[in-house]
């Protein structure tokens, strides 16, 4: 199940962090997200030479740590989505699907004229949609 998702801006500033477990290890999750940003930068700066088609959006598994897996997704505006999950057998397609829906919700939140780009996302609708997507992900991968 997903424990944490984060949206990080292009200057590595946090725009939205939401954890879905008890808040005890919220700090640890923030730390994991922070560390994963380094991996993202590394992947972006040194693209793997293998594979002619560089699909730059979905970065895939960034690194497995203890009992967590961290996935990354990069938008064209250098905004990064980080997903931390405890599932051990997560299908690639499921994660891609999750990021696609998450990206759609993000775009709608950013289209709000009252949202200031670069500031945190305060939209309640966005938070609700993200919870729905996370729940749907949990159900699809558990079944």
């Amino acid at each position: 199940m997903i424990v944490c998702i984060a949206v990080v801006g292009h200057q590595n500033n946090p725009l939205y962090i939401q954890s879905f477990t008890e808040a005890d290890d919220a700090l640890k999750l923030h730390h994991i997200v922070h560390c994963s940003l380094d991996v993202v930068d590394e992947r972006v700066n040194n693209p793997k030479k293998s594979g002619p088609l560089l699909n730059e959006t979905f970065l895939g598994l960034l690194y497995p740590t203890e009992n967590y897996k961290v996935y990354g997704y990069l938008t064209n505006t250098k905004v990064k989505f980080i997903l931390v999950t405890t599932d051990l057998d997560v299908k690639d397609a499921d994660v891609r699907n999750f990021f696609r829906r998450f990206h759609a919700a993000y775009v709608d939140a950013v289209s709000n004229p009252f949202h200031v780009p670069g500031k945190k996302i305060t939209s309640r609708t966005f938070a609700e949609r993200v919870s729905t997507i996370v729940k749907a992900f949990g159900l699809s991968s558990a079944g």
Partner: protein, 186 residues
């Protein structure tokens, strides 16, 4: 039924030029944002939006009457139906329904099922008194004033403020007959 006119604005809507809805929504959002930055006071912004709408309405009525090809409305009830069914459809692509007529037939409510101006919009806590779509009030007021009706248009319900739909109240204050600027004996 005396009037022979289009029952809905669908046919006209199909023939007018159209613009991308997101462009429209984002442009309007930018206008409201800029007004808030310039004026800083929510009540002032509401007034400005109404004034902008008024200016648009006084010009829009001519286009409406030219394209809609409807005959003269007999009473205010018909006028309101025309605005709701033909006017809104032609310019916003949505239809409204008219409800809640009072006894004299001078005051009604128009309910908008959808509102393209407010896609993606969420009011922040600092702007809670803002009537985001106030421009629509001004448009109706301005348009009706050009056809000799003085009205007052206000918002009764607004989804951005927590209600479940968009509802306008249109009240006819008086019918002003045409005044000619020259005297009769000249």
């Amino acid at each position: 039924m005396p009037t022979v006119g289009p029952r809905s604005g669908d046919a006209i809507f199909a023939n007018v030029e159209r613009v991308n809805a997101e462009l429209f929504t984002l442009t309007y959002g930018a206008i409201v944002r800029q007004l808030l930055t310039d004026l800083e006071d929510v009540e002032e912004v509401n007034k400005q939006l109404d004034q902008m709408g008024y200016n648009i309405g006084t010009r829009l009525i001519d286009e409406f009457l030219a394209k809609a090809n409807i005959s003269r409305c007999v009473d205010f009830k018909e006028t309101a139906e025309m605005i709701a069914k033909v006017g809104f459809k032609m310019f916003l692509g949505v239809t409204a329904s008219v409800t809640n007529w009072d006894i004299e037939g001078t005051c009604c409510n128009m309910v908008l099922e959808e509102n393209p101006l407010v896609d993606f919009v969420e009011l922040p806590d600092t702007c809670q008194g803002l009537y985001y779509c106030n421009v629509l009030c001004g448009v109706i007021r301005g348009a009706l004033e050009m056809v000799s009706m003085k009205t007052e248009v206000t918002w009764v319900r607004d989804v951005l403020r927590g209600d479940d739909s968009y509802e306008l109240q249109v009240k006819l204050l008086k019918q002003v007959p045409q005044e000619y600027p020259y005297k009769d004996d000249e």
